[in-house]
Amino acid sequence: MTILGPVSTGTSGTAAQAPTDWVRALSVPGPEKEAALFRLHELLVHAARRQVARMREQLRGTADADDIANQAADDAMVAILGKLHTFEGRSRFTTWAYKFAIMNAAVQVRRQAWRGCDVPLDDPDLIVERAPTPEAYAQGRDLATALATAIAATLTPHQRRIVVALLIDEVPVDVLAERLGTSRNAVYKTLHDARVALRADLRAAGYLPTPSESP
């Protein structure tokens, strides 16, 4: 039974062959499995490197991009082999596999970038920025003032701290979750609920179109 073939699943610029049926290749002990594991690891390292490269501006000098990518790929390999039975074929296998390496790499880059940095979790005074022209200033200032009012009046102190950290201080959602001892889901839910409340306020005040007016 041949399960290795020159199939173009997975591009990393390397010449190693990819299995036509990844799940079977990775499940049945033997030389095919060894070859598939090797090829998969190559692909995961490649995917993790691409993510680190995308985020390289966030990495400070001391962080080793290759270390992050290799660790992300190793961790992804473990996750993928543990979840192999959950792959439903709703995407290419390689697309499914890449996402584990990509997320691990991104989380590591963000963690490194914020290592040793304080996450300011205060309840700030929001200042309305001056726009460059008088017209833009008048238009933008109205919306900005309405938004500042809504943030102060509608959001809870907890919501305010979360949205300010995420949207103004640009603390990544996973870093903030880690600092708060909670999950990425929970932090994003707080942001989502805050946006829903702010948009409702701004819509009621005529600053955002109502759903029926939206294109």
Binding site: R92, I102, P124, E129, H192, R195, V196
Partner: protein, 91 residues
Amino acid sequence: MTERRLTPEIIRRFTVDGEPWLSCDDCFARVDEYVDRMLADPDYDSPAMSAHLRGCGACAEEMATLLDLAARDAGVDPQPVLPRLGRWCQG
């Protein structure tokens, strides 16, 4: 109390329409299918996925790399699907 400035970019971030709701975990669970289906059919959309990617910079930053890799595997140009995925995916 410290001060923060509400610039036009900050205002945009606050007023992103993130509906319908989708969690980061559900985004991760679906992102591979979302990317492959979009590459196969540029008209394909999942409103909840698109909303989450508009509203969540971290998931969008990860999806952008997945889209690049999957596009190359599929031999497809990802450009047609980039504009509606928001600013995070265009870098």
